[in-house]
């Protein structure tokens, strides 16, 4: 229990540090007032209030002066308070589910998240499914006859797969299966579950291939160790068919390191779909955060960072707990 509390405490600290860094950097590196109001924010209100300059509105049709608008905006977005106060207020709002309002289109950030998160989660889910569906049979086949032709070939193949950057993989798959042979659409088609799955097939595969290579390496090594155990010899001596030994007896005790790495990767994936979403024009969190960063849409950036980091932290905590559940030595160490 102490171990669990310690890990939770550490991860809460990480979450705190990351949000502070993000909050400070978006507010210090960029000026939120300019981002909301544009050139209007540059009006020097001290001069206006002192009566040196006239307060004429550049916005046609409003009776309000520029400075009134600026003051109102400052109040609306809490821009007058010092940074720590604004951070505390922001955290307080988030705990009630209020992520603020987008500067760009005045939509609540929670609505944006609600629209975009499912698409990204679906993409990550498909990617994870493919990565396991590919790597487990692949590892079983190469461990079955280790250091033979197929195994040596797959060592080279997985090394090669790991050296292809994910965007390059995306472009290659896009070219082969969407442009050259039109098996899949080149753009995301949101209508209907069938079209969605079809549009997410190639991006999912792009996400999965390097992961599959990693898992195959890990699982293969562990399988080779397991296959030297006595109970495997026992099963073989009983005359059990090789495929039963591989899938029923050897696979489960060999899954340990794959589960660990699988968990860590899954947390990181949520932030790793940015480029893939871009290539396949998928309207998910990745596309949204890139747009928001370029447009200095601070509330949206912050909201998505919170989601991504929370996902990462929670999945890692879960993996740590799983680990200590499976292997009691971790708890005591």
């Amino acid at each position: 229990m102490r171990f669990v509390l310690q890990r939770v405490g550490q991860l809460v600290m990480v979450l705190f540090a990351v949000t502070v860094i993000t909050f400070a950097s978006v507010n210090v590196l960029g000026d939120p007032l300019t981002n909301i109001l544009g050139p209007l924010a540059r009006v020097d209100c001290t001069d206006v209030y002192a009566g040196i300059k006239p307060d004429t509105s550049t916005r046609g049709g409003t009776s309000e002066g520029d400075c009134a608008i600026i003051a109102e905006t400052r109040k609306e977005f809490n821009l007058d308070s010092p940074l720590p106060v604004r951070y505390a207020r922001w955290v307080g709002d988030i705990s009630t589910g209020d992520f603020g309002t987008s500067f760009q289109n005045q939509l609540p950030v929670s609505t944006v998240l609600k629209n975009k998160l499912p698409v990204t989660l679906r993409l990550v889910g498909i990617g994870l499914f493919f990565s396991l569906a590919l790597s487990i049979p692949w590892a079983l086949l190469s461990a079955y006859r280790a250091e033979r032709t197929f195994d040596n070939f797959s060592t080279v193949a997985s090394f090669g797969l790991l050296a292809i950057p994910n965007f390059a993989m995306g472009v290659i798959l896009l070219y082969l299966f969407a442009v050259r042979w039109s098996f899949f659409p080149t753009r995301y088609e949101p209508a209907g579950i069938y079209n969605q799955l079809k549009s997410l097939f190639l991006p999912g595969l792009t996400l999965a291939l390097p992961l599959a290579a990693t898992y195959q390496r890990l699982l293969r090594t562990d399988l080779i160790t397991t296959l030297q155990e006595d109970f495997v010899h026992m099963a073989r001596a009983k005359g059990m068919p090789a495929h039963t030994i591989m899938t029923r007896h050897a696979l489960r005790p060999s899954m340990f390191s794959v589960i660990t790495v699988f968990g860590i990767n899954t947390g990181a994936l949520l932030g790793g779909t940015l480029v893939i979403e871009r290539i396949f024009s998928i309207p998910g969190l990745g596309t949204e955060i890139v747009t928001a960063i370029v447009r200095d849409d601070t509330p949206v950036v912050l909201g998505i960072v919170v989601i991504i980091v929370t996902g990462f932290v929670v999945v890692n905590l879960f993996v740590d707990l799983m680990y200590s559940f499976l292997d009691p030595r971790v708890r005591r160490g």
Binding site: A163, I172, Y175, T186, I279, I308, V313
Partner: protein, 297 residues
């Protein structure tokens, strides 16, 4: 396992046998390593010599007809503005390689000392430094890079330094972990006993040992940085001036160009793939070459 231990115990009292010739072969870096290094030397030389090579300038528009297939005159064909893809790949390597190199150098210069200090002194310094590393690692790295590049500018210096910041945590953690191991070793204790100061022990005793795994990680990390530049390019935030591999792949990846001039994207992809493969392989070889445990059991 028990049998092996027994034979070892006997070997202590026996004469030390000459190492078998097979063992000597095992400890070689292998031909693959030298092929990988040759590729890196070749690509670096081309990058350095780009201004004097007989190739087109990187921005010569209309050097050939648009989207033409590879020919003797244009080895990798031409892109949608008629620029020579081969020439641009060489010009692009200047940016991509220097981003990778500067990023890793910055990561090693900051992360290395931090990690060694944390691992050597432990206690409160270690707690603080480890926490900073953990926070940096928890951050979605591409998002952090995007935010900084977007709010500063898109110069080579900024892009390289941002990627350098991202390299601090992994390099620092490795340096720390290795320092903890070496700080307990006899030669370090001996140095302490003869009255060597902490700074001298860290520089003269620990650093040379920690540098080897850091060097292996640096090769792998350079590959990661080169790829990260490509990812930044895809999100529209890579180095502004001139060609880079990432920008070339991006330009070649729109549907029309993919259909008519596949080479525009595939040529830089191939070069980037070979470079990343070479760096990964070399890093892997260096690591297992110096990993004594793996060979001497």
């Amino acid at each position: 396992m028990a049998d092996e231990k027994a034979t070892h115990a006997v070997a202590v009292f026996d004469e030390v046998p000459e190492p078998f010739s097979e063992d000597v072969v095992k400890r070689r870096l292998g031909i693959g390593f030298w092929v990988a290094i040759s590729w890196m030397v070749l690509i670096t030389a081309l990058a350095l010599l780009a201004p004097v090579l007989p190739i087109d300038g990187q921005n010569v528009i209309g050097a050939g007809s648009k989207l033409s297939a590879p020919s003797l005159h244009h080895l990798f064909g031409t892109d949608s503005l008629g620029r020579d893809v081969f020439a641009r790949t060489i010009w692009g390597s200047r940016v991509s390689l220097s981003v990778g190199f500067i990023a890793i150098a910055a990561g090693m210069l900051i992360g290395g000392p931090l990690g060694i200090i944390a691992g050597y002194f432990r206690g409160k310094i270690d707690a603080v430094v480890s926490f900073v590393f953990l926070s940096l690692l928890s951050f979605p790295s591409l998002v952090l890079a995007l935010m900084i590049v977007n709010s500063l500018d898109r110069s080579l210096k900024v892009v390289a330094l941002v990627l350098g910041i991202l390299a601090i945590a992994p390099i620092g953690r490795l340096a720390r972990a290795n320092t903890i191991v070496y700080a307990e070793r006899e030669f370090v204790q001996a140095a302490r006993v003869i009255g060597a100061k902490d700074i001298r022990i860290m520089v003269r005793e620990i650093l040379p040992n920690v540098l080897i795994p850091m060097g292996a990680l640096a090769l792998l990390g350079m590959a990661v940085a080169i790829v990260a530049e490509g990812a930044l390019a895809f999100l529209g935030l890579s180095v502004k001036q001139g060609a880079t591999w990432g920008k070339m792949i991006l330009e070649g990846s729109d549907i029309r160009t993919l259909r008519k001039g596949t080479y525009v994207a595939m040529a830089p992809i191939l070069v980037m793939f070979l470079t990343v493969l070479a760096l990964n392989y070399a890093g892997d070889r260096v690591r297992s070459y110096f990993d004594v445990r793996e060979t001497a059991f």
